[in-house]
């Protein structure tokens, strides 16, 4: 197979190797070094897809990331949508197709790896074109720590697209020498295929390195596919070059219409002729290089159409020598052709008026409207831009600390100027960092810059087609035209941000790389205001699209959100536990026996704990060790009840409130010594309550001699619960007198088991006789097994969080965060008994005296019993009340409150619920209604304690 549009020689492709790829079902040849776009053009193919909205044929219009036309879907080696043919490096076996709209994500997991690296440098240079290379060389020669990143497959930037000589050799040879020199500096990191896509505060830049994409199926599996570099630089040099700007004219979207500079790139870098017969339409001198180079390579250049009245005398002479016709004071007003341009319509252009025109046959129409500096990274870092009247472009308009712009990104458009600017900017950055420049820091000798004729700023050619700009495309990806901008302006929009949102210009894949400045210019023209006043829309990261997989990197699954497991986890798994997530913890929810569902398992577990003995892994309970002479003072200030009166060896339940008087956590406190407490928090509150204590100690009461530290993971906790729990504990710890008299409720004892320290506490979260067993996690499994062994005669039953919840709800014990929501006081929970009246102050106390806290209609915690003894009310259900006449009030029906916890009770042999109900305690005995699946279920309001309200069971 041969490619008809491949030049006989030249280009930076490897002609010795031919690779095959498939596009739209057709197998085509290409070479290593090609992009998909250059390979398609080499095979004579311009059209890539049709446009999303209008279905118009669209093709390759640029040579890199600014191309608005060539979006493709890759199918193999791995499906990926919305890639640009111009930036996709060709590899063997690539299968792709043109994308007329939405792409297709893979429906199988991506097996590739993505990762991230942090890197710190003195100077980061973005872009390895002439300015960037000069800057990087200058910085490297000083010995500074330097990173140079560039998004293309090899360094050189525009030097690879032309015919310039540096230091007397072809520019690519100089580039190779520069890269070799950089590699000899030990402190230089040089990355190609790496796009700096976002610049943020304090010298922080994110860059995406495509490490294996270009290798296709050959990609080694042990290398991450893409890597995000998180670079923190003391100084950043932005040398990102410039994008050529099109001129808008009628039917300017046809395949075969291409930026002039892109044609030069395809020719010199890839050895591809983008057409046979070309017309070149320009407003400035740069496009003449494309005309002359293509002509030399054998393309028939039909005409250079220069919109400037006098054109460029010097360049006209060169063209005439090459036999190229130059039409000055003329414009392209339109095109013919459907799937490929066939004619350019050319007409005289005098004082903004278009004259009568004629059609010139061509299969390639090159356009240049000037150059837009790629100021994206500068602008993202909040650098202000200024409009340059001469260039018709926005340039960096101020000095931003730690950030400088060099070369054509700063509006310098000649090679010698870019090289000098790169070095100047790098040296300024070094001097700011107090780093001495290197000794031999010379610039290469570059060609003397020609003095260009002044460019003309022309955003669009007047529409002579009668369509009023309806097919003058500004944003090809959004199918948005001059007519759309006119409509936006006509609707009264003036802000460029509003016009962007109204027309959708700049919101597609390319984020307005070619359309943004055009829109500013055309809008200014339509409004009759200076372009500076229109400004640009805000540049936001990413500069080019970045896959979510790359951003996520290794931070997926349990590496993103760690899974915490208790020391008994393996045992739970072996016992067939069904787990639930409680914060980051994996907790057994229930332990089904064969054939059991959750409901039957939980009823069985509940019955065991209430009639025999159950055992729970409660290790996730938060534990804070509070030590110091003022420990009791701190706890007195943070708990609503008095802690300082607690005796060593005893336990007290306590409630904590915020300054607003609302409950934030509850739990028990063990006094270990005069100056030491063990504070137990809810599982979810462990970190938060430690922070809360720290905040008060550090910021308000630094005089308190107290220290708080988490010991959650230093102790496992096994509540042994039920009337037979005393027998179990007594059997395992025979040296401990477990009688009620010797070991009363709400006390703790230290003991040992085979020499291992164990703490026992008479704490109950179920209302039953219960002992909590605390031990070092290292001994969790043997201690747990000893307890199971001792409990076997009594049918000891491990239970999970679901049974724990049912047991506590039957006793009316609230779960903070489930039965409360940040608007609930201890009084609302019926816990006035836990609020000290003796203490002059504690956090939250003053708020209890607010009038709102005295409102008898505050929501209060009550129990609910569905009258039908059947329905399990869904948690979160609203509660309503019938009028005296037995009817619902008219809508909106007032809501009395909501169900906070709801379960089926083995003990009660019926479902029950806890709820927050307005004036709930006054309603005890009333019947209210709960809508469940469209039916109003009558429920009786009760006190929150439904099992053993007199507390007779706690001592067994």
């Amino acid at each position: 197979m041969s490619s008809p549009f491949r030049t006989a020689s030249g280009g930076r492709i490897d002609r010795t190797t031919t690779i095959e790829f498939t596009f739209d079902g057709q197998t085509l040849p290409g070479h290593p070094g090609d992009t998909l776009a250059s390979a398609l053009l080499a095979n004579g193919r311009h059209q890539v897809a049709t446009s999303t909205k209008l279905g118009r044929p669209r093709g390759i219009a640029a040579a890199w990331a600014e191309d608005p036309g060539g979006l493709v879907q890759v199918e193999e080696p791995f499906p990926e949508p919305m890639l640009l043919a111009t930036t996709l490096e060709l590899h063997e076996g690539l299968v792709a197709r043109g994308l007329p709209g939405q792409g297709r994500l893979a429906d199988v997991p991506d097996s590739a790896r993505y990762d991230a690296v942090h890197h710190h440098v003195d100077v980061l240079v973005v872009g390895a074109g002439p300015a960037g290379l000069a800057a990087a060389l200058s910085a490297a020669r000083s010995g500074a720590r330097v990173a140079l990143v560039d998004e293309q497959s090899e360094a050189g930037g525009s030097l690879l697209s032309g015919t310039d000589q540096l230091d007397g050799v072809a520019a690519p040879a100089w580039v190779a020498a520069a890269v070799a020199e950089l590699s000899r500096h030990p402190e230089v990191l040089h990355l190609q295929r790496t796009t700096a896509f976002g610049s943020y505060d304090d010298g922080f830049v994110l860059a995406l390195e495509r490490r294996t994409d270009h290798l296709g199926a050959e990609a080694p599996k042990n290398v991450s596919r893409q890597r995000v570099w998180r670079i923190r630089a003391r100084s950043i040099v932005i040398a990102t070059g410039a994008h050529e700007r099109p001129v808008v004219f009628t039917d300017n979207d046809r395949p075969g219409v291409m930026l002039a500079g892109a044609a030069r790139t395809f020719l010199h870098r890839y050895g591809v002729l983008p057409g046979r017969e070309a017309v070149v339409f320009t407003t400035n001198d740069s496009a003449y290089d494309a005309a002359l180079d293509l002509s030399r390579a054998g393309v028939r250049v039909q005409a250079v159409v220069d919109a400037r009245p006098a054109g460029s005398p010097q360049r006209r002479e060169e063209c005439e020598r090459a036999g190229i016709r130059v039409l000055s004071g003329a414009v392209v007003t339109g095109t013919h052709g459907v799937e490929r341009v066939t004619h350019a319509l050319v007409a005289p252009f005098v004082d903004g008026e278009v004259g009568a025109g004629s059609a010139i046959a061509c299969d390639l129409l090159l356009v240049s409207g000037g150059w837009n500096p790629a100021v994206h990274l500068f602008s993202q870092a909040r650098g202000r831009l200024r409009y340059d009247e001469t260039l018709g472009a926005f340039l960096p308009g101020e000095q931003v600390e730690g950030l400088s712009v060099a070369g054509s990104a700063a509006g310098v458009l000649d090679l010698a100027g870019c090289l000098a600017d790169g070095r100047r900017v790098a040296r300024a950055a070094l001097s700011h960092l107090a780093i001495e420049p290197g000794a031999d820091d010379r610039l290469p000798t570059a060609p003397e810059p020609a003095v260009p004729a002044a460019p003309l700023v022309l955003w669009r050619v007047p529409d002579t087609s009668g369509a009023h700009g309806g097919s003058q495309f500004v944003d090809l990806q959004r199918d948005a035209t001059v007519a759309d901008i006119a409509r936006a302006v006509g609707a009264g929009l003036r802000s460029i941000e509003h016009i962007k949102r109204y027309t959708t210009i700049g919101t597609a894949h390319d984020q307005g790389k070619t359309s943004g400045v055009l829109t500013s210019g055309i809008t200014a023209e339509l409004l009759g205001i200076p372009v500076q006043d229109t400004g640009t829309t805000t540049f936001r990261p990413p500069y080019t699209p970045v896959a979510f997989a790359a951003l996520a990197g290794r931070d997926r699954g349990s590496l993103f959100d760690p899974e915490r497991t208790t020391a008994l986890h393996e045992w739970h798994v072996a016992a067939g536990a069904v787990f639930e997530d409680v914060g980051q913890w994996k907790r057994p929810r229930y332990y089904p026996e064969p054939g059991e569902d959750m409901e039957t398992a939980v009823l069985r577990e509940c019955a065991a704990a209430r009639t025999g003995v159950g055992i729970l892994d409660g290790s996730t309970l938060g534990k804070i060790d509070v030590q110091g002479p003022d420990a009791a003072v701190l706890l007195d200030r943070l708990y609503t009840n008095l802690i300082s009166s607690l005796k060593v060896g005893s336990v007290r339940y306590g409630v904590m409130c915020g300054v607003d008087g609302m409950v934030i956590d509850d739990g028990t406190v063990l006094r270990l010594a005069e100056d030491r407490f063990l504070v137990l928090t809810t599982t979810g509150g462990a970190a938060r309550i430690l922070d809360w204590m720290e905040e008060w100690v550090q910021t308000e009461w630094p005089e308190l001699r107290v220290h708080c530290t988490s010991v959650t993971e230093q102790w496992v906790t096994f509540p042994v619960v039920g009337p037979r729990s005393r027998d179990v504990i007594g059997a395992v710890f025979p040296q401990v007198d477990v009688s009620t008299e010797a070991f009363p409720f709400m006390t703790w004892r230290d003991t040992t088991l085979d020499g291992v320290p164990v703490r026992l506490a008479r704490i109950s979260f179920s209302g039953e006789l219960a002992f909590e067993v605390y031990v070092n996690p290292w001994y969790a499994v043997p201690v747990w097994q000893r307890l199971l062994e001792a409990g076997r005669p009594y049918g000891i039953t491990p239970y999970g969080t679901e049974t724990m919840h049912v047991l506590r709800a039957e006793k009316g014990y609230p779960i903070i965060g489930q039965d409360t929501d940040g608007t609930v006081t201890p009084h609302d929970l019926g816990m006035a008994w836990a609020v000290s009246k003796k203490k002059p102050d504690f956090v939250g106390k003053r708020s209890f005296a607010r009038p709102a806290n005295q409102d008898p209609l505050r929501k209060q915690l009550v129990g609910l019993l569905p009258v039908d003894r059947q329905t399990v009310l869904p948690e979160g259900s609203q509660i309503v009340e019938f009028r005296a006449d037995g009817q619902l009030p008219p809508p909106p029906v007032p809501m009395l409150g909501h169900v906070t916890s709801s379960y089926r009770s083995a003990e009660l042999a019926r479902p029950f619920a806890l709820a927050l109900v307005k004036g709930g305690r006054e309603r005890i005995g009333d019947t209210v209604h709960v809508p469940v699946h469209g039916i109003l279920v009558p429920v009786e309001v009760t006190g929150p304690v439904l099992v053993d309200p007199e507390g007779a069971r706690r001592d067994g």
Binding site: Y200, D202, V659, E694, T699, P702, K845, R846
Partner: protein, 91 residues
């Protein structure tokens, strides 16, 4: 991502820190003597200036120390940080 200079650890990335609102709002010496309105001002009311603002910050994923920062709310620039036992910073 900004760098925030923890007065104990030096410059660290902002994700390591958590915000604690306005600085210099002490817990009242005797809340019981305050009117409801005065108490509500302590609990709920905070300044919201454009410009320099004294704020409480916590190096929560680092040394877990609270400190005070003078920050410009318009530019996000941290102008000064101080330890809680330093003399009170002036905005």
């Amino acid at each position: 991502m900004q760098l925030i200079a923890c007065p104990w650890c030096g410059p660290r990335e902002e994700v390591e820190f958590s915000y604690g609102g306005q600085a210099g709002v002490p817990y009242p010496a005797d809340p019981a003597v305050l009117s409801d309105e005065q108490w509500a001002h302590y609990v709920f009311f905070r300044d919201n200036p454009k410009g320099r603002f004294a704020e409480r910050w916590n190096h929560s994923a680092g040394c877990r120390r609270w400190f005070t920062a003078i920050r410009d709310t318009a530019t996000y620039r941290f102008e000064r940080v101080s330890r809680l036992d330093d003399p009170k910073p002036v905005t």
